[in-house]
Symmetry: C2
Subunit: 185 residues, 2 copies
DNA sequence: ACATCTCTAGACCAATCGGTCTAGACCGTT
DNA sequence: AACGGTCTAGACCGATTGGTCTAGAGATGT
């Protein structure tokens, strides 16, 4: 197996993920992905035979992995759930700020804006479920009862999703940083 | 002034708003808007000289008016803020269910997915600010202190935004109905 | 009746869309 | 050296995109 295969493949995924986040699925053209990632068209359709849709799912999966890592990192050294949740919000705010373009949720941009079929919705649903379960696991680990853990995780995730949208409109991550005080203050 | 002018214009706005909600700005073609609204192309560019972008702003504005009405209606007969907030969530869940296609937030679909310029972001920001202020007004009316009203309104709006996204992924309005119990339970 | 206005109607256009296809570069294996 | 597989490279394609333009229908004012 050629090492370059992986390189080209991940380069495509990362570039596509970034562009989808910034301009949405339909708002991003194949040509632009190829240009920004300096990849010829043939390579794209070699690695992703189904084309743009394939690429969108790969990009969303990749972004989801990153989110799961951020969640774990945030809760790792936390003394309690609210502590971890606060760190998570701050980490996400920081991530939001690193991008020059005000970006949307990587999952919704790649999957909702994309082809409106059931498969894509299922895919998005699965990713959000993964996130929820990951947070629930952390909540349980930090001492919350099963019911409370589920509620706390869902509330946090709702606020983060909403906060991300608001942050995009306001072009400021302040909303994300305010979440802990809104929920637990 | 011709009566038909208004008819064609609003027909375009409503159709565009629906399609943008379902498939996003870039995902919706002019041709489809014209087909579904049974409007010739010339009429569109007569009423909206700047074309699709103009139409998106008009559609978002129109949808925002609707949202403001729903907010007022929900809080009108409310005994306290939480009561009104609960009614609002249920009303929105009901609205979510009426559409056959699982739709996204009318504002974000028309304005975020759209052209990535500052003007559109400002427009979206203004609409969200309008919503927030409307809820704050209701909170104050129902006895909350200024600081508490602002916090309560922002929290509610974040949860609704996030809940709407989740509802779309899960193709179920249950999340929206769970919000009151998550926030106030 | 005529002129003027608003609005409808759709042919038409260049540009871009996502996707296919062929050619060959570069590899390890034999 | 010759082969077979992986991957790059980009010319090329029909379809669709948003938008322009001309023609005329229809109402109104004089």
């Amino acid at each position: 197996m050629n090492m370059l295969e992986t390189d080209t493949r991940t380069r495509l995924i990362k570039t596509a993920a970034r562009l989808f986040r910034e301009k949405g699925f339909h708002g991003t053209g194949i040509a632009e992905i190829l240009l920004k990632s300096e990849t010829p068209k043939g390579s794209l359709y070699h690695h992703f035979p189904a084309g743009k849709a394939d690429l969108a799912k790969a990009a969303a999966s990749w972004a989801s992995e990153g989110m799961l890592e951020i969640i774990d990192a945030a809760f790792e050294g936390a003394s309690d759930f609210q502590d971890g949740a606060t760190t998570l919000c701050y980490k996400l705010a920081k991530f939001f700020d690193t991008a020059q373009e005000w970006q949307s949720c990587p999952v919704s941009s790649a999957l909702f804006d994309g082809p409106g079929n059931e498969e894509f919705r299922d895919f998005a649903d699965q990713i959000y479920t993964d996130w929820t379960e990951s947070i629930i696991r952390q909540a349980s680990r930090l001492g919350l009862e099963t019911d409370d853990a589920g509620k706390a995780a869902e509330t946090l995730l709702l606020a983060i999703q909403g906060g991300w949208t608001m942050a995009r409109a306001k072009r400021s991550s302040d909303v994300l940083r305010r979440i802990p005080s809104l929920l637990y203050g």
